[in-house]
């Protein structure tokens, strides 16, 4: 079938939908059908879509993905290139750039731009971290920096799509949807995949809801966006003047009518509807409760630098911890404003000023609560920035996809470790190259999922988050 998840009016089909064999009927796997049937007895609106996952013992239960949208410069954060400093202002050697895709610097003269800040070694591990990130310096022994990332898309929108879905073609599920589909959620009161986008900083790049789309997976696995201000989730607030009690009565009455229909028709879709209304009702309480930071002590607010309701990255980091505590599977934060074609120093100060401390606070807070060990944190942008100068209002850098840095920490990740490297000018990743697909494979591995076996039939193909090109788990960065 084209879409294996389209629920039809039948028990088995619905159960297939709930537990999603993902297999067209012509290829129906019998054992799976049986397993599905047994497992789907209670129509849980937040259940996993799979019965065969996890494939192995997971190291991490959840993911917090801190997306630094716009593409932070690896050359001013984690990838120190003294040679680039030497060549500052000189033409960029052709051998690096010949035949390479270039974004805004197309047709321009290419000059080297030396690092715009200082680096030093920190912690026992001696990881190199720049002066823009004083709080990251304190985490040197907890994070694992990968300096050899590569991606395939050089413009923001497709690059985000690539980072999230493994392809630039629209309509594929995002990694958060894949993970929630594979593992379900551990909360009965909240969606399994939550997205938070922060305000503050410079004129931000747009970000499309495609980035948290469920693609061809059932839409209950799509990311639900929490708003920093106003209604925390669209339509979670009952109409004006309607009390909680009234809303409860309304849902009870709806359910009574639906139950009556169920008795008359036996339509199993009604059972699902009864359960989705219950979750909707619970969300009307649990979401505002989650978003209300009133019960956080002042020292925690101070640690993050969060002011309740301000919609900043700091508040979102704190919300991320609260979501993690409540069992949300995949939490994705976007902080935009990292697109520094010019004025890089000024804007790095802005962006790092808004994100450096809260990121440290999140990691530290999770650690002090014993949650870091089963939470995987990933930090990074959709790409890095060129070693070449761009000067839109002061020195800056263009988009760069052939080598950039990200870091991971928490469940199953080797702490205080640097992996891979770029060439002497920070252009090409040359040592232990990690493709976005490898990052996906590694993330799934830590969650107990074998990316090769994690397939869903769509348009006749066994689709994977990691696609069909080679991809591998980066074992070197694992404990």
């Amino acid at each position: 079938m084209n879409n294996p998840f389209t629920p039809e009016s039948s028990m088995v089909q619905r159960r297939t939908f709930l537990k999603g064999s993902g297999i067209g009927l012509g290829h129906l796997a019998l054992t799976k059908m049986l397993a599905n049937d047994a497992a789907a007895a209670g129509a849980d609106a937040n259940a996993s879509g799979r019965s065969d996952t996890p494939h192995h013992l997971p190291k991490a239960k959840r993911v917090i993905f801190l997306c630094m949208a716009g593409g932070p410069s690896h050359l001013e954060t984690f990838d120190y290139k003294p040679k680039l400093a030497e060549l500052d202002g000189q033409p960029m050697p052709d051998s690096f750039t010949q035949g390479q895709p270039i974004a805004q610097l197309q047709g321009k003269q290419l000059k080297c731009q030396g690092p715009l800040t200082k680096f030093a070694k920190y912690g026992n591990s001696g990881q190199l971290i720049s002066d823009f990130l004083p709080f990251h310096q304190k985490m040197a022994d907890q994070i694992c920096v990968v300096r050899s990332l590569v991606t395939e898309q050089i413009n923001h929108d497709p690059a985000h799509t690539f980072m999230n879905t493994g392809t630039a073609i629209s309509g594929r599920p995002s990694m958060g949807s894949w993970v929630t589909y594979g593992l379900g959620s551990e909360t009965e009161n909240l969606p399994g995949f939550v997205v938070l986008t922060s305000v503050g900083g410079r004129n931000p790049q747009p970000i499309a809801s495609r980035q948290w789309s469920a693609g061809f997976l059932p839409s209950r696995f799509q990311g639900v966006e929490f708003n920093g201000s106003g209604q925390p989730v669209n339509y979670v607030q009952p109409p004006p003047g309607i009390t909680r009690k009234q809303q409860r009565r309304l849902i009870d009455a709806v359910s009574a009518l639906n139950q009556h229909q169920l008795d008359k028709t036996g339509d199993p879709e009604i059972e699902t509807r009864l359960s989705t209304y219950e979750l909707a009702y619970r969300m009307q309480t649990s979401v505002p409760e989650l978003a209300d930071l009133a019960d956080e002590p002042q020292h925690i607010l101070d640690m993050y630098g969060a002011k309740p309701g301000d919609g900043t990255y700091a508040s979102n980091c704190l919300l991320a911890r609260r979501l993690a505590e409540r069992g949300v599977r995949f939490i994705q934060l976007y902080h935009r404003g990292w697109d520094h074609h010019g004025g890089l120093v000024q804007y790095m100060n802005t962006c790092c000023g808004l994100t450096d401390r809260p990121t440290w606070a999140l990691l530290t807070d999770l650690q002090q609560r014993g949650m870091l060990e089963d939470t995987l944190i990933i930090w990074g942008g959709e790409f890095g920035r060129t070693p070449m100068f761009q000067g839109k209002g002061g020195a800056g850098r263009d988009h760069h996809i052939k080598g950039f840095s990200m870091w991971l920490a928490g469940g199953g990740i080797k702490p205080g470790y640097s992996h891979g490297g770029t060439d002497e000018l920070g252009y090409h990743a040359v040592d232990d190259v990690v493709h976005v697909r490898d990052l996906h494979a590694t993330m799934l591995h830590l969650l107990g999922i074998d990316h090769r076996r994690f397939t869903v039939r769509h348009q006749g193909l066994d689709m994977r988050l990691t696609g069909v090109e080679p991809s591998q788990v980066v074992h070197d960065i694992l404990v």
Partner: protein, 789 residues
């Protein structure tokens, strides 16, 4: 469960429920070979292993398959081998065959391993209509369905009750609930004659075109914004109105196809053709600074081929962008040769003149009126020239009454003329320019210019275009797609007929509506599908006639209720021994609520409308920043098909109900059932407004008792009277609501705050209105209300 297991085993064996069917290559064998073997032993020449292909009979039987001899056939020996070095599929492929599949392949080889031409690439053939003694069939279609049911040990479901049937019909043909009059008419006289009359009434209603347009707009990925990066608005709404108009006028599907793919190339192309040619501009574009034109032109080319092939071929030719298709005979050469048809589309102007304005600039564009506006304008022009040409009487004569009224008529017409001319909207069109050079891009890499240059041609295995020395163009392609003699018209008709069937039965005869390839689902009723395809062409590609034919079948009019035994015997309704039930589409949910409320405005066409949406919903959009200004007044109450379609942030109500972003072709929307959907139905201010309006509509009627009112509102929403249980739920709920509001009248005022715009709140007591609003919300949330049964 064990029963189900047995059935499934039998089914896989092609022995459904004990009725021994012969093994069919297309239905039974090919899907297994395709899924397990073709990836390395199929059409993709570059990645073929051991120089063996199993998709071509001659090649397969050279060595791998010895017809009749299971022991000597290497294919079988390999799949039953336990030696990891020779085992097929190789263990590291992650693929394996079930015991049932192995048995099936053995039996097939034993029977001589007969191949069949692939069904989707063979012209539909006239089919013998299966004979039956049964009185059940009303149309040849029913003969096919009934015969298949009998062969699988089934029988038709009973007929749907009149209310269910008329609601089903109304939603299926118009996307709207039936009017009370239509319900009463049919319930009073539920005969075939009355039904047929109502069918015609629905087909003649302008709402038919709107309903059909939604499906077509999903297929061609119509949206009001560019899709990538800044997701700016672009000018295209006249194309949407063109589509609605075509379905309403029943423009034959072949002509409809030609106009969209090549309207600009038609002899004497008029505004209508040009608007239609906007199809070629519907793809996603990026107006981000720093995009590489070359890269994006390659992306646009691929986007077009994905859409063209999904919509008209029912194929995933997009897979051949980087390599020969793995499962179907499309080569990478075919992909770029198809793309070459569109190399003349003037598309790259936006790289130079594109802007972050709203709307952005995507020339070529023209300013147009809708067809009906143009016609009206012509009539006015004509009338005016007639009126003006009548010589005025002698100047000194006293103006008579008739000249006075003539002057008034002229003034009125001139005013209307001016209004119409001001109503022109801009829309993107296709303009043919010197074709860009098109090369095969090895591995789809736009930086690699080593591939051969290609010119427009159709996929080689499907034939060639006879254009002599002339470079083939989009019109040749369009003609070939709908020409059942010289081209693949029969195949196209089959793709479309399957979709029209899907719209009325909830499942396609082949359930993969956009993939008739080897990895799609073969049709359960191949003969019926051929019959329909031929019928469609014979009916001069009339969509209305096909829809009419289908809804008049007995198959359509079955009940959708099924016993648990029926469900377990045929969980996916393969044999159409019942109708399907599923949630209404997002637009239908909205339109139904608007209709019930009386707020509904039935105008056809016009600029897109903006209903309420949560504050700040567009805050992530930039270049430029977006301020959403909801429409005031009538724009709030137009049909869902007219809602502004923001690709990156589709209206959250539409999105929660599975409307697609229209970034890619959608032939079948998912039908989810999620908490977000429940939150929309419970709390979306637009739906609250419709509830208030429905309540006030109810209270405007002459004073009647509360039970009478409860019955009436139930009837308005569900087209039937409530039963006893339902009455008691309603009564109980209403009683508590009114008690609540009597003690807290200020809560009623709060609820009704938004209502001043559309309800005369002075006329009714807020406490009553708020309480009845509660009842309206209750009914609009009921499962039955949002379900097509």
């Amino acid at each position: 469960m064990r029963f189900l297991l047995i059935i499934a085993v039998l089914w896989v064996l092609g022995l459904d429920f004990g009725f021994a069917d012969e093994i069919s290559f297309n239905r039974d064998v090919r899907p297994i070979l395709s899924d397990k073997c073709f990836s390395c032993h199929g059409p993709d020449g570059k990645h073929r292993e051991a120089d063996l292909r199993l998709d071509v009979e001659k090649d397969a039987k050279e060595s791998a398959i010895i017809p009749g001899d299971v022991e000597l056939s290497e294919v079988i020996l390999r799949i039953i081998s336990t030696d990891p070095d020779s085992q097929m599929p190789p263990p590291d492929s992650g693929k394996s065959l079930t015991a049932e599949q192995i048995d099936l392949l053995k039996n097939w080889v034993r029977e001589g391993a007969p191949y069949q031409a692939y069904w989707a690439y063979s012209k539909p053939l006239p089919q013998r209509i299966p004979a039956t003694q049964s009185k059940w069939p009303r149309d040849p279609i029913d003969h096919f369905v009934l015969t298949a049911q009998i062969n699988h040990g089934m029988e038709p479901a009973k007929d749907a009750d009149p209310v269910t049937l008329i609601r089903r019909l109304a939603f299926d043909l118009t996307g709207l609930p039936p009017s009370q009059r239509q319900v009463e008419t049919y319930v009073a006289d539920p005969t075939r004659q009355t039904f047929a009359r109502l069918v015609d009434e629905f087909l003649d209603s302008p709402a038919f075109g709107e309903r059909m347009a939604i499906y077509w707009l999903d297929l061609v990925r119509y949206a009001d914004t560019v899709g990538y990066h800044g997701d700016q608005d672009h000018n295209i709404s006249p194309y949407r109105d063109y589509v609605i108009d075509c379905f309403n006028r029943d423009v034959p599907f072949d002509e409809f196809s030609r106009q969209q793919l090549a309207g600009d190339l038609l002899a004497g192309a008029d505004d209508n053709d040009l608007v239609a040619s906007g199809y070629n501009r519907l793809l996603q574009t990026s107006h981000e600074g720093g995009v590489q034109p070359k890269e994006y032109l390659a992306m646009y080319a691929a986007d077009r081929i994905r859409n063209l092939s999904a919509v008209w071929f029912g194929a995933t030719v997009g897979c051949a962008q980087c390599h020969d298709h793995k499962y179907d005979p499309y080569t990478i050469q075919d992909f770029y040769s198809l793309a070459a048809f569109f190399a003349d589309v003037d598309e790259d102007q936006h790289f130079k003149v594109g802007s972050n304005a709203l709307p952005t600039r995507r020339p070529p564009e023209i300013a147009v009126l809708t067809r009906w506006q143009r016609e009206r304008l012509r009539t006015i022009d004509q009338k005016l020239s007639e009126l003006r040409s009548v010589p005025a009487k002698s100047e000194n004569a006293k103006p008579s009454e008739s000249t006075n009224s003539k002057a008034a008529t002229i003034a009125r017409l001139e005013q209307e003329q001016a209004q119409l001319q001001a109503a022109k909207r801009t829309t993107m069109i296709t303009q043919s320019t010197e074709p860009r050079e098109m090369r095969v891009l090895p591995r789809g890499d736009w930086l690699d210019e080593s591939g051969p240059i290609v010119t427009p041609s159709v996929p080689a295995f499907l034939g060639t275009l006879q254009t002599g020395d002339r470079r083939a163009n989009r019109l040749d392609l369009a003609n070939w797609l709908v020409d059942e003699q010289e081209g693949v018209g029969g195949l196209t008709a089959r793709v479309m007929a399957n979709r029209l069937w899907f719209l009325l039965f909830g499942r396609g005869i082949s359930s993969s509506l956009a993939d008739f390839g080897g990895q799609g689902e073969p049709p359960t009723h191949p003969e019926l599908l051929d019959h329909l395809a031929i019928q469609f062409v014979q009916d001069n590609w009339s969509v209305k006639r096909m829809m009419r034919r289908l809804v008049l079948t007995h198959t359509y009019q079955q009940s959708s209720q099924a016993s648990p035994e029926m469900i377990s015997a045929d969980p996916n309704n393969l044999w159409f021994a019942r109708q399907s039930r599923y949630r209404l589409s997002a637009e239908m949910v909205r339109d139904q609520a608007l209709t019930a409320s009386g707020l509904f405005i039935a105008d056809v066409g016009g600029p897109s409308v903006r209903p309420h949406q949560p504050a700040g919903y567009y805050r992530h959009l930039n270049f430029p920043r977006r301020v959403y200004s909801p429409d005031r007044g009538s724009g709030q109450y137009r049909r869902g098909v007219y809602i502004h379609w923001q690709r990156q942030f589709l209206h959250p109500m539409l999105k929660a109900m599975d409307a697609p972003s229209r970034e890619e072709c959608t032939a079948q929307r998912p039908r989810s059932n999620t908490p977000l959907e429940a939150l929309v139905l419970l709390n979306d201010p637009s739906l609250v407004d419709t509830s208030i309006a429905l309540a006030s509509r109810l209270l405007k009627r002459p004073a009647i008792s509360t039970p009478q009112r409860l019955r009436e509102i139930f009837q308005i929403v569900l087209s039937r009277p409530p039963d006893e249980t339902e009455m008691s739920v309603l009564t109980d709920f209403f009683t508590k609501e009114i008690e609540h509001y009597r003690t807290a009248p200020q809560a009623a005022t709060m609820l009704l705050e938004s209502a001043d715009d559309f309800v005369d709140t002075e006329m009714v007591s807020p406490v009553e209105l708020a309480s009845w609003t509660g009842v309206a919300r209750l009914l609009l949330n009921a499962h039955e209300t949002v379900t097509r049964q």
